[in-house]
């Protein structure tokens, strides 16, 4: 990992009521983790025990959590890794508002009511000229302004990461120009461009083909001992990881959604090369305490 401090991020899945082990498990957890006050408490406990950041999809829930943390005066202690757009919520919404055209109208309305004049102008240009680049920039400006207004001026927003669904859909379509545009724009506005993917090995291969500088990006992808969600295989993902030019990979799903015990999960990660950090969701105070204490102990020395 070198001289750079490792990132130990609190993940937000439990705060959205998500468990990738089973939906039943998220129902058993109850509503507590989805309460912003309680979620903020879990993040603060994690922070006291070794966490140093928060990786979150930008949603009303996570923005409320950030607002609580800001009011507690702790927001500057967190490195913020924001994932946009909160795609699954938009997919759900599309089903309610009349598909993709209905969804597009809804987003346009939200941007227009945000009062962000640059965003509105960019959005208009994007629609009139069918310019996806302008629309992407407009949307990013809108999301960043939402984060800023909830997390406050002291917030350390470090990376804007593209949601897995969008990253992987664009990868599938071979949209090299889009990744190029995204990386350059995010760098230009002063953040680290990030990509959340379920196709780590494929993404690395494509980025190399397209001459996208892997050193300038951060990639969040599943890494765990049992190969859960590691596509096409654990072996291929490990091989691609070993070939990375520098440690810029954030391992997610390290507990395989609670299937693995923290110790065995973290032991596996500790032996991987090029890991910049990890993101782990916590749904109870005891989890927050134990998990991040263990992560700090095992991964700081790796």
């Amino acid at each position: 990992m070198g001289a750079e401090e490792k990132l130990f991020l609190v993940g937000d899945n439990p705060f959205h009521g998500i468990s990738h082990l089973s939906q039943e498990r998220s129902r058993v957890r109850g509503d507590a983790p989805t309460n912003p006050e309680y979620a903020a408490k879990l993040i603060l406990i994690s922070l006291e025990n070794g966490a140093n950041g928060f990786m979150f999809s930008v949603s009303e829930t996570t923005l409320s959590i950030l607002n609580v943390i800001d009011r507690n005066g702790m927001v500057e202690s967190l490195s913020l890794y924001a994932i946009v757009p909160y795609a699954y919520e938009y997919v759900r919404l599309a089903g309610k508002v009349g598909g993709v055209p209905g969804l597009a109208k809804r987003i346009v309305k939200e941007v227009a009511f945000s009062g962000n004049l640059n965003a509105i102008a960019g959005g208009l240009k994007g629609v009139i000229e069918a310019d996806l680049g302008s629309l992407v920039k407009t949307y990013l400006a809108y999301e960043i302004s939402r984060i800023r207004s909830s997390a406050g001026k002291r917030a350390r927003l470090e990376s804007i990461m593209l949601h897995q669904l969008i990253t992987d859909m664009c990868l599938g379509f071979d949209m090299d120009w889009f990744f190029d545009l995204y990386v350059n724009h995010i760098l230009k506005i002063g953040f680290k461009p990030g990509f959340n993917t379920g196709n780590f090995a494929f993404l690395v291969k494509k980025f190399r083909e397209w001459n996208i500088n892997l050193e300038e990006t951060v990639i969040a992808a599943p890494f765990n001992k049992i190969g859960f969600q590691m596509n096409p295989s654990r072996e291929e993902c490990e091989k691609a990881l070993a070939d990375m030019p520098k440690p810029n990979v954030l391992a997610i799903s390290i507990l395989a959604a609670g299937y693995l015990k923290p110790k065995e999960a973290i032991d596996y990660i500790a032996n991987l090369p090029n890991i910049k950090g990890v993101a782990v969701g916590v749904s109870k105070e005891s989890h927050a305490y134990e998990t991040f204490k263990l992560i700090r102990e095992k991964l700081n020395s790796s």
Partner: protein, 330 residues
């Protein structure tokens, strides 16, 4: 049929059209050659983004393009007219239609006849057949690992419209919950147990008048097996739609859903498999591993010119059962 590069078009570029098109583009031997959508703005963006792919506004315009297969991912209400046009204009003989095949059994039957006459491969997008948990359950049932099925309870739940009565921010799908979500539970039951007949049914409107928001039905299979369907999009704590089946068998119980499979044997033995235990990775992951497996299987079926399941004929039974639920509930 010898196909070097399978030339594919996708009709309907909403979320399912985008998903299938992106996956298809990653499958070796597949060439995405045309996209069709009636929305002007969507077509404008598609033209900017996909410069080497033909972008058209109507199915009939696909007849000028050399195609091996077409994906129909438009709203359910137009599946019949779009699929019929593809067959009658000889656009392609191999057709994949997102679920459900049609809006009713009458339309579905007609499409089955057109598909048979075309001689191509046809398939409907009941992607849960490609989920590892349901595949394992099917395998156990076929091997009679728990004896003979006696009773089943199938459910399909989501929270999409939970707690929005009188405060609806949007419009529930006008096809209703049985066709939109419940069709997955019905298809799985048909796959597991063979043909079914509806005995009793109830349908409720909760969110707005005239829209099916929940349904309950009792069924009987040809072999005397009895079963129930419980379907709703107004259930709390189901942020992600969930489909599952509990099957009481002569030697134990199988409990399967999207996430896991449990086996409780009368001998006292208990087994459980999560997705994690069932090799749930794919060459390209988008929206869930089921979608890649489904598309890859359809492509291989077309290239190999063999029957793909669920075929139109198989899936038309889902449309028939939905019609029966509605008729019995009236």
């Amino acid at each position: 049929m010898i196909v070097k590069n399978l030339k594919v078009a996708v009709v309907g570029m909403g979320k399912m059209g985008m998903l299938h098109a992106s996956i298809l583009n990653t499958i070796p031997g597949v060439e995405l050659v045309a996209l069709c959508d009636k929305n002007f703005l969507i077509r404008r963006f598609l033209r900017k983004v996909f410069k080497e792919i033909a972008i058209v506004n109507s199915v009939k315009k696909l007849s000028k393009i050399d195609l091996d297969a077409v994906y129909v991912t438009t709203p359910v209400s137009s599946h019949y007219s779009v699929a019929k046009a593809i067959y009658s204009e000889n656009i392609a003989s191999n057709l994949f239609v997102e679920k459900t095949l049609a809006s009713n059994f009458g339309e579905a039957k007609e499409l089955c006849e057109l598909a048979r006459d075309s001689g191509g491969v046809n398939m409907v997008g009941y992607m849960r057949r490609f989920a590892v948990t349901f595949q394992k359950a099917k395998n156990l049932l076929d091997k009679k690992a728990v004896g003979e099925p006696v009773l089943f309870k199938a459910y399909a739940f989501s929270s999409d419209f939970y707690g929005v009565e009188g405060n609806l921010d949007g419009q529930p799908s006008n096809v209703g919950v049985v066709r939109d979500l419940g069709c997955h539970a019905i298809d799985l039951a048909l796959w597991f147990f063979g043909d079914l007949e509806i005995e009793e049914a109830k349908i409720k409107s909760i969110v707005s008048n005239g829209v099916e928001d929940s349904a309950y039905a009792e069924v009987m299979a040809t072999n005397g097996l009895r079963g129930e369907f419980d379907i709703s999009w107004c259930i709390d704590k189901h942020r992600i739609p969930e489909v599952g089946v509990t099957i009481e068998c002569s030697e134990g119980t199988i409990n399967v859903n999207d996430d896991k499979l449990e086996l409780n044997l009368k001998s006292g033995r208990y087994y459980r498999w999560f997705r994690h235990d069932l090799r749930d990775t794919v060459a390209f992951w988008l929206g869930g591993p089921e979608f890649f497996r489904e598309d890859d299987y359809f492509v291989k079926s077309v290239i190999g010119n063999h029957v793909a399941e669920p075929s139109f004929y198989t899936s038309a039974k889902v449309d028939r059962i939905i019609d029966e639920i509605r008729a019995k509930a009236d």
